[in-house]
């Protein structure tokens, strides 16, 4: 699980599968000769009698290394080990109680069972606290908060770097601990996240011999902590920084977590807690497993595709204290989740807002990847119109902000009028990419009295012309023109110079 420390920026992390790169170690390293010569099984040097040796991943060099760790606590569901030379941070003094009494029962209830007793024939899960080698060297960087390595579920003859136990790793890098910006809840959410991965492996890989797509595996891990700790402001921020990221394309980027979180939070809000367990129990993976799970809900007709479109509207609609669109709860995140995509403070984070990107001058909308949504906003006072033209494979909705009116399934080529603010949501409900979310032609529509749209000079000229026609002088008030212009300038943020 990737996280950002300090600045809440989206950072691309160039990590690729450790498995791929470890291939070189397995085949040629560790004393072995590659290419048919066989290889010696790598072994860890012995630890003291009070410690246990563990293989851990080095994400900088893409290799495995050994550490020694002491078991500092044993509970009803877990054993906690701390890396040699480190101490259990005070912020984690409640870790075991939290995991054993809250995270374990909540995750198993909502997702299913982990391997139990598993490869080590021990019902307890190992939580190894260590300084994960992820290259973090200072504040402001991204780091690996924790991880689950499925390689530990295999015997040594299948994986020489296996610890042969159910375990996950939690990062207690002193930089994180001393930063003060990583709270105990951050550690707990990481635990819940990683535990879902362990359950996912058991349910899909072990029991069904399948291997799920990363986007769905991560999406379910993203929603796991919300059952205990509520919606994630951090992920909402991540999402708003890159709201058009593809849901189903996983590039090992922090941005990938944003849309994954929004999707799973939406599913939790819409279908309740059991949906993920249903997905897990399907004998399929990815979108097919989601669709199969949806069919188990009585009288449900919604699909992955239809819900993706609904989600795009829910996201674009922001959030109100009640369902925004009467009779359509599918177009709003639940009130309980409190997801608000507008610019606002969320916890300690200031959200930039979904429409923070300036789209006011765009005529050709940006490309859309598979299962992604493009968001555009328009401003015109008092009213404006946009005409959206795009390929028929795209689905769009339009929100007239001034009149709080939603138009769904808008047709390519049709005009959409709005008051002050308009929002166009274009959804790509397919596994293919499109080069553009369409083109937009905008125009302002004036509903003011003709005289008010004229400049004072034009108004006087018109009045004089009329006066001549009437053969007598006429008074004319030009103040209205100044007032309207001033209102527009104030709306844009200009302030009088007095």
């Amino acid at each position: 699980m990737f996280r950002s420390l300090g600045s809440k920026k989206t950072t691309i992390i160039p990590l690729l599968s450790l498995f791929m790169l470890v291939a070189a170690v397995v085949l040629t390293g560790c004393g072995g000769g590659g290419g048919g010569g066989g290889h010696a099984t790598p072994t860890c040097p012995p630890c003291s009698s009070t410690e246990t040796s563990f293989w851990a991943a080095n994400f900088v060099t893409n290799s495995y290394y050994c550490i020694c760790a002491a078991e500092v606590a044993t509970g009803a569901q877990s054993r906690i080990f701390v890396q040699h030379g480190m101490n259990l941070p005070p912020v984690l003094s409640g870790l075991q109680t939290e995991f054993d009494t809250k995270i374990y029962p909540t995750n198993t209830n909502n997702f299913g069972s982990e391997p139990n007793p598993g490869i080590d024939n021990d019902p307890l899960i190992t939580i190894l606290l260590l300084n994960i080698k992820d290259g973090l060297s200072g504040a402001g960087g991204s780091y690996v908060a924790g991880y689950f390595d499925p390689g530990n579920e295999y015997p040594l003859f299948a994986n020489p770097f296996s610890n042969q136990r159910e375990m996950f790793y939690l990062n207690i890098n002193p930089i994180l601990i001393n930063s003060g910006s990583v709270t105990e809840t951050d550690f707990y959410t990481t635990l819940a996240h990683e535990f879902q991965h362990m359950i996912h492996w058991e349910q899909k890989n072990h029991l069904k011999n399948l291997d799920d797509d990363t986007w769905l595996n991560e999406a379910m891990s993203e929603v796991a902590p919300t059952y205990l700790y509520g919606p994630s402001c951090e992920r909402l921020y991540t999402y708003e920084k890159d709201p058009s990221n593809s849901l189903t394309v996983w590039n090992d980027s922090v941005s990938d977590y944003g849309i994954a979180y929004m999707w799973s939070q939406y599913y939790k809000d819409q279908f309740g807690g059991t949906i993920f367990k249903e997905i897990m129990q399907q004998n399929s993976i990815g979108i097919t497993s989601v669709n199969s799970a949806l069919t188990t809900i009585p009288s449900n007709t919604r699909t992955f595709e239809s819900t993706f479109y609904d989600m795009s509207i829910a996201v674009g609609s922001g959030m109100t204290t009640t369902t925004r669109w009467t009779g359509h709860p599918e177009w709003t995140f639940s009130v309980a989740s409190g997801i608000d995509t507008w610019a606002a403070s969320c916890g300690s984070i200031m959200l930039p807002g979904l429409f923070s990107q300036n789209t006011s001058t765009l005529t050709t909308l940006p490309a859309l990847g598979p299962w992604s949504v493009g968001f555009s906003s328009f401003h015109s006072s008092p009213t404006g119109t946009i005409t959206w033209t795009a390929a028929s494979t795209l689905k769009a909705a339009f929100i007239d902000g001034g009149n709080n009116r939603l138009s769904t399934n808008i047709v390519s080529g049709s005009s959409n009028t709005y008051s002050n603010d308009g929002y166009l949501l274009v959804s790509n409900p397919s596994g293919g990419s499109v080069s553009s979310a369409g083109s937009v032609v905008r125009s302002s529509v004036s509903t003011l009295a003709p005289a008010m749209s004229l400049s004072p000079k034009e108004m006087l000229a018109a009045a004089n012309a009329a006066s001549q026609a009437l053969d007598r002088p006429r008074s004319v008030c030009v103040q209205s023109a100044f007032k309207e212009r001033e209102k527009e300038r104030r709306r844009k943020g200009f302030k009088p110079g007095f």
């Binding site: 699980m1 992390i13 990590l15 397995v26 996912h200 090992d252 990815g286 596994g431």
Partner: protein
């Protein structure tokens, strides 16, 4: 006619040179395989992996033993450009470094079509 021995010698030399280069590397045409299928990214971050689901298999139902783990330098390119797309990989079979997969391919060439 006097040129014939030179031509034969040149051909023999070329054969030896190309054979030895194949033997040293992994590009021996005899060892090369071609697999067509859909590229997917699997597993949990940061231990994700790129796999190819062979043509004819349902990508959402194929069991692990049907998948090819993709290793080597081109895996990153496949992740960045070809997820959920059908490609043909030309490369060599490899010993899977992951216990999750039985099949493994190290591609040297990606063939894309129909884009």
């Amino acid at each position: 006619m006097r040129a014939v021995p030179y031509v034969i010698s040149a051909c023999l030399l070329l054969t030896v040179v190309s054979s030895s280069s194949w033997a040293m590397g992994s590009n021996n045409p005899a060892d090369m395989i071609s697999v067509t299928g859909v590229i997917r990214v699997k597993g949990n971050a940061p231990l994700t992996r790129v796999v190819l689901v062979p043509q004819g298999e349902d990508p959402d139902r194929a069991t692990k033993d049907r998948l090819y783990l993709v290793t080597g330098d081109l895996a990153k390119e496949l992740m960045e450009r070809d997820q959920n797309r059908t490609v043909t990989l030309l490369g060599t079979l490899c010993a899977s470094p992951s216990p999750e997969y039985q099949k493994c391919i190290t591609p040297v060439e990606i063939q894309r079509s129909g884009r």
